[in-house]
């Protein structure tokens, strides 16, 4: 008897599931009067302030008012992202916008997309696939970000450079670009690295690493943190040990990503420098789609976004409002 009821329930759910699926398919196939269908695959917006700003920017751009019908899928896992891409291909989107969690494994699904005539645009992250499989890729140049920051640091003309270098998760593009520029300058200009450690984007770890240097009694005058969170952790350790930091003080504090609160620290002269990592790719993507829809060809495949570096002595409230994420 029990089994029969169970079977009945299962049958009922299956039937219900079928009708639900049917409904969804119907909705997808109905054409909403010339809207461009885009499938957007992104990383989890909770991952960081950068991602939150990025997701918000995308959602504001790809609206019906702007002529788009957008579907979103989020995951930090590559295989889940690939599954989402396959679903979007089945749904018959016109464009697939992709910020891949991992660089590998995208070839076959992108070939499927190409076979269906779906155009792929990468944003924020590149992938290891044949460039013919995607139309364009809009990225930050992490090497340039690092170089801008290091050039700024050179321009400060400190008597000596004793640097605490807090790195991001080792191997990530941001870490490699931002570390590379500093490493080159250390080698060529005779700067000293007091410590070079990965704090894995984590404020608490950064605080412990800087605390450890302070406890050892070694002196330093620059903190080069590869994101704002780590700079914040470092500053917490400095405050505890009464080491002054900021404009005209003992220690120069540098961060990246331009979080709003970090730019406010600059405005208050507590930090010295913050490098931008531009999360606002939606307008670039919009331009590309408009061009492709008009039948134009793109002049270049890789588009590098404009990125700034802010100096505490010149930053203004407008900068904070405009560029803070």
């Amino acid at each position: 008897m029990k089994k029969r009821i169970l079977a009945l329930i299962m049958a009922a759910t299956m039937v219900f599931g079928l009708t639900a699926c049917g409904g969804a398919a119907e909705e997808a196939s109905s054409d909403k009067g010339g809207l461009i269908k885009v499938g957007i695959i992104n990383n989890d917006p909770n991952e960081s302030g950068y991602r939150t700003a990025n997701d918000k920017d995308m959602k504001e751009m790809f609206t019906e008012a702007n002529g788009y019908e957008a579907s979103f899928a989020y995951s930090l896992k590559n295989d889940e992202q690939i599954t989402a891409a396959q679903k979007f291909i089945q749904d018959g989107v016109d464009y697939l916008l992709l910020s891949a969690a991992d660089t590998a494994g995208w070839d076959s699904v992108l070939k499927d997309a190409q076979a269906e005539g779906i155009k792929v645009i990468l944003f924020d992250r590149t992938i290891d696939a044949d460039p013919s499989l995607y139309e364009a890729s809009i990225v930050s140049d992490m090497d340039k970000e690092g170089q801008t920051a290091v050039d700024w640091l050179k321009g400060q003309n400190l008597g000596e450079y004793k640097i605490i270098h807090l790195q991001g998760v080792m191997g990530s593009a941001a870490q490699q670009g931002r570390s590379g520029a500093l490493d080159a300058a250390v080698a060529s200009d005779g700067w000293t690295l007091v410590t070079q450690q990965t704090a894995e984007w984590n404020a608490e770890k950064a605080q412990q690493i800087v605390q450890s240097v302070i406890d050892s009694g070694e002196s330093f005058n620059v903190i080069y943190a590869e994101n704002d969170d780590m700079a914040k952790g470092a500053v917490a350790a400095l405050d505890k040990a009464n080491i002054s930091h900021g404009v005209g003080k003992d220690v120069v504090v540098m961060g990246f990503d331009c979080n709003k609160w970090a730019l406010e620290e600059l405005l208050n002269q507590n930090w010295n420098y913050d490098g931008q990592c531009n999360p606002f790719q939606a307008s670039y993507i919009n331009d590309i789609i408009k061009k492709l829809e008009a039948g134009e060809t793109l002049s270049e495949k890789t588009i590098i976004m404009d990125e700034k570096g802010f100096d505490a002595s010149t930053i203004t409230q407008e900068d904070v409002d405009k560029y803070g994420i």
């Binding site: 991952e47 302070i214 009464n242």
Partner: protein
């Protein structure tokens, strides 16, 4: 005469050897001696002033007391859970994110950057305690009443907890500018010892009193040793398992307050990352069987400080921080191997042989 002395000495050494607390003490001694040899300045403590002008003690030992304390608090709850259920809660890191997020949410209200606190800190803390205990109760119910493996049951919150934490604050990153909030993870003006240590001491005193004056310790151990026989003796094993998870929830809330107070802010994806592994390691380092049963709370707490001692030592020697977990893994391997029956038998056999040798000498 000399032989007799030797015998009694070896016996007392053997006794200490068999005591559970020997393991963390030995680990602590090894680390301390290692640091003493390589660089005695490790033990230097200096009195200075922080940027607000309050006296603070600083030095590696203070760092250990500071950061080890939140781990010690978690170790208290984790020991009870381990003893009663024979499993571990792997969601404490995510739980800290939730508890911390609740504290900030209550303090900030709807504005993520308040000039003044919207509620007294104690109210925010009590609410976060209630929330963390509810999540503990959720874990506990899954384990105690639905008989799900603790690690599987807590995997749910381990996965979902950080998203819940972000959702509580609408995915914003609140920052609190009120200096009184930073006391819990920093220093109270005029007192040069880090506050987390006092909070940990308070927790230790409370748990010591609870274990002394209630039957909690006895009941958790008997449930952990043999569930069915403790039921036959009139205990309610399910309820006892449940209650240990709720107590762990409370510990999580306290640790969460310390964590968010350190930076007066929160980052949902990385706050208290991998702390569950350190908490479990503290229990293991305390010589407690991870399969449940008898436990020694003092040893666990000591284990927590030993882990921080290890972490701080590794930082001092500029070991890459992403390699830290590899060193901790070595410690785990050694502990687990030492606690297997095969090695135990071998060691006790060795002990008996030494004893016999001394005995033979005496007779001869």
């Amino acid at each position: 005469m000399q032989n007799k002395e030797m015998k009694s000495l070896s016996e007392s050494v053997m006794k200490l050897f068999r005591k559970q607390i020997f393991i963390p003490i030995a680990a602590l001694l090894v680390l301390a001696v290692f640091n003493l040899i390589t660089d005695p300045s490790f033990f230097k403590i200096t009195l200075g002033y922080n940027s607000v002008g309050d006296p603070v003690l600083s030095g590696y030992l203070m760092t250990i007391l500071d950061y080890g304390s939140e781990l010690a608090i978690l170790a208290i709850g984790m020991t009870l859970v381990t003893a009663a259920t024979g499993g571990q809660d792997i969601s404490v890191g995510a739980g800290i994110a939730i508890a911390g997020s609740v504290v900030l949410r209550v303090l900030c209200g709807t504005d993520s950057r308040p000039e003044t606190l919207q509620a007294p800190i104690i109210v925010a803390f009590l609410i976060s305690c209630v929330v963390a205990m509810l999540f503990g109760a959720f874990n506990g119910a899954l384990v105690a009443y639905f008989k799900i493996q603790p690690m599987v049951a807590t995997l749910i919150l381990f996965t979902a907890g950080r998203s819940i934490a972000a959702w509580i604050n609408n995915n914003e990153l609140p920052i609190i500018s009120d200096p009184t909030f930073s006391y819990f993870g920093g220093f109270i003006p005029g007192i040069p010892v880090p506050t987390p240590f006092f909070i940990a001491v308070a927790c230790m005193v409370i748990i010591a009193l609870v274990l002394k004056f209630t039957t909690l310790g006895l009941y958790t151990q008997s449930v952990g040793i043999n569930e069915s026989s403790s039921r036959l003796n009139g205990l309610n094993p399910a309820f006892i398992k449940f209650i240990t998870f709720v107590i762990l929830g409370l510990c999580v809330a306290v640790a969460g307050l310390i964590k968010v107070s350190r930076l007066s802010s929160i980052n949902y994806s990385v706050i208290a990352k991998d702390i569950e592994m350190d908490a479990i390691l503290a229990v293991a380092l305390g010589g407690n069987a991870l399969s449940g049963g008898k436990f020694n709370m003092t040893a666990s707490i000591l284990g927590a400080y030993v882990i921080q001692f290890l972490t701080t030592t590794l930082y001092k020697f500029n070991v890459q921080s992403d390699a830290l977990s590899a060193y901790k893994a070595v410690v785990v391997i050694v502990l687990v191997v030492l606690s297997t029956p095969v090695v135990r038998e071998f060691l006790s056999g060795l002990g008996k042989k030494i004893k016999a040798m001394i005995h033979v000498k005496e007779v001869g």
